[in-house]
């Protein structure tokens, strides 16, 4: 979390600027909500604490309840702390057919936490996920924004070990 980048209880200045750049491209302010939440989540270390949600609501002049409603609808917005590395293991059909569940078990065993928990050092958290649109690389997982495909349980663990 970049404490220093925050100003008062509003959005960090850079986040505000990023949102302002988008304004001319949408006919309503409401349409900026998803982009603004992505931007806010990046600034708050990968999740959206209540203060982030309030800040976005104020910035876009929307009711907080409305913003909560949107945040809870989408799988990529998080209301709980996540690890520095967010791991999504695909367990949809194409990945399952190629051993995706074994990858999930290997990740769980290695990290010694359960889904949605963060390792004690704050490094990693993982979830199983629906098809990530990369079934040609099955079984696969995503770490942060990166795809890792053609996994074996051993390869998955090696990748986890290589994270900073």
């Amino acid at each position: 979390m970049s404490e220093s980048a925050r100003h008062g209880d509003g959005l960090p200045r850079e986040a505000k600027r990023a949102i302002d750049e988008l304004r001319p491209h949408y006919p309503t302010t409401e349409a900026l909500l998803l982009p603004a939440l992505h931007i806010a989540q990046r600034h708050w270390g990968g999740w959206l604490p209540d203060e982030a949600i309030s800040a976005v609501a104020r910035e876009l002049d929307l009711a907080e309840s409305k913003v909560y409603g949107v945040v809870t609808f989408y799988d990529l917005f998080h209301q709980h702390p996540v690890g520095r590395h967010r791991i999504r293991v695909c367990t949809n059909l194409s990945c399952t057919l190629r051993g995706g569940e074994e990858i999930l078990h290997a990740v769980r065993r290695h990290l010694k936490v359960d889904e949605n928990e963060v390792t004690a050092d704050g490094r990693c958290s993982f979830v199983h996920f629906e098809c990530l649109g990369a079934c040609e690389q099955a079984p696969m997982m995503m770490i942060g924004d990166r795809y890792h495909g053609d996994l074996t349980p051993r390869r998955a663990v090696e990748i986890l070990e290589g994270l900073d």
Binding site: L132, G133, D145
Partner: protein
């Protein structure tokens, strides 16, 4: 099967990520040509080509464009559907990653034809790298005057933006997508009114899939007759990018004229995984009915697959070999739909959940024969009773399991467990 790729012709030529490289490969000639045509002529050409939507429903693209009211000064939009969340589908990602300008060119031609001056590409939130690739290409297109105030000096103005989703399958449904674009929960709208009349921001809107739009420059460039010469018949025309995954040796995208068979695709993909035998396949993504090995010779086009009780959908072909438990495979899909139902409609919200629960007990041997009939009844109650097609999407695989593969489900009931050994796909050494 030899076929000179069309949509994927620039795969392996990263120079096309830049306007200069794409132009060298013949790119943006179709846009110049289109800008010299009357918008109506373009719509007629797309109609004549027989191009049908590649996002799932197969709706004729030219006809959709022709629904946009003409002559009004009101803002109009194109929303390109790059949500690509149908399990088994990855072609749109690869189309964007290999040739982003092909999509930009297709979008620009569509916008000119329907009189839209804004195009949003709604891309699933997980596609961070493809979104960046596309954003870079868009910036380059602006610099070269291919987008912006005055496209290629024609006086036509076009703003194009990439808009990221945030992880919700239902936002691939066109009105769910519009709700999401407008900053709300992605809950589908009641139709009519259709998006062509009341779409994004209450304005007339065309929504087309990435691959649909990628076809457009080729139709304008080479003509509708050429396009129609590819495919099974005049209702199933053009090239098609098939996504093949599961139990084949080389999963990936394979482009052919629409209407190749599963056997052709498996051969192209290096044969069955580890030489095992084919058991069943899904021809068009998680929403499609599961077909058996006996149907592997069907032409994979819109009408042939519909006649067989399934669908081409997004052409996400999932191949399952003899080691696959189809109850388990279907359970996995039902679980997906239960998770992704937006919850607005009772038959969908309840039906997807009950399908998952009943399949779960059948799969681990706690089910009874009456559960199979119950599944049948549930799917009947879900069909055509909900607001969008997600409920029917769940019905696709679930009903096909109980109708096409009932003996396998019954084996679970009779033996009180899954009759198939659950073996690891990995060599012992691969497991740490």
């Amino acid at each position: 099967m030899a076929f000179e790729p069309i949509l994927l012709r620039n795969a392996g030529n990263p120079a096309v990520h830049e306007v200069s490289g794409y132009r060298k490969a013949g790119g943006y000639e179709a846009l110049s040509k289109a800008l010299a045509m009357e918008p109506e002529e373009i719509i007629d050409a797309v109609k004549a080509s027989g191009l049908r939507g590649r996002g799932g429903a197969g709706f004729p693209a030219g006809l959709k464009w022709s629904f946009i009211p003409k002559g009004s000064e009101k803002a109009k939009y194109l929303v390109c559907n790059a949500d690509e969340s149908e399990p088994g589908t990855f072609k749109d990602r690869i189309l964007i990653e290999t040739d982003p300008h092909q999509l930009i060119e297709g979008c620009a031609i569509c916008c000119y034809a329907v009189g839209a001056s804004t195009c949003y590409v709604y891309i699933r939130g997980e596609y961070v790298a493809p979104a960046l690739t596309l954003e870079r290409a868009i910036a380059d297109a602006y610099e070269h005057g291919l987008l912006g105030e005055d496209v290629l000096g024609s006086g036509f103005a076009l703003d194009m933006r990439v808009h990221r989703g945030a992880g919700a399958y239902i936002c691939g449904e066109e009105t769910g997508m519009l709700e999401s674009l407008e900053g709300r929960r992605g809950q589908p709208r009641i139709k009519p009114p259709f998006p062509a009349i009341v779409g994004a921001f209450a304005a007339p809107t065309v929504i087309n899939n990435v691959e649909t739009l990628c076809n457009v420059p080729h139709i304008i460039g080479r003509g509708a007759e050429w396009f129609k010469s590819l495919g099974t018949d005049e209702r199933n025309t053009g090239p098609k990018v098939y996504c093949i995954s599961g139990h084949v040796e080389r999963p990936g995208v394979y482009e052919y004229p629409i209407g190749v068979t599963l056997d052709d695709l498996i051969a192209a993909a290096g044969g069955m995984y580890r030489g095992r035998a084919l058991k069943a396949y899904i021809p068009g993504g998680a929403s499609a009915a599961i077909l058996s090995d006996e149907q592997s010779g069907l032409p994979m086009d819109f009408d042939s697959l519909a006649q067989a009780g399934s669908m081409l959908g997004s052409a996400a072909v999932v191949v399952m070999d003899e080691t696959t438990c189809l109850v388990r495979a279907t359970l996995r899909l039902a679980k997906f739909f239960a998770h992704e139902s937006c919850g607005q409609c009772t038959p969908c919200r309840e039906g997807t959940n009950w399908s998952e629960m009943i399949l779960a007990r059948l799969e681990d041997g706690r089910g009874s024969e009456s559960d199979i009939d119950l599944l049948q009844r549930i799917t009947t109650n879900m069909s055509g009773t909900a607001l969008c097609a997600l409920a029917d999407a769940c019905v696709g695989p679930v009903r096909s399991l109980v109708t096409n593969f009932r003996p396998e489900v019954m084996q679970h009931v009779e033996q009180g467990c899954c009759p198939l050994p659950r073996q690891s796909i990995f060599e012992p050494g691969a497991v740490s």
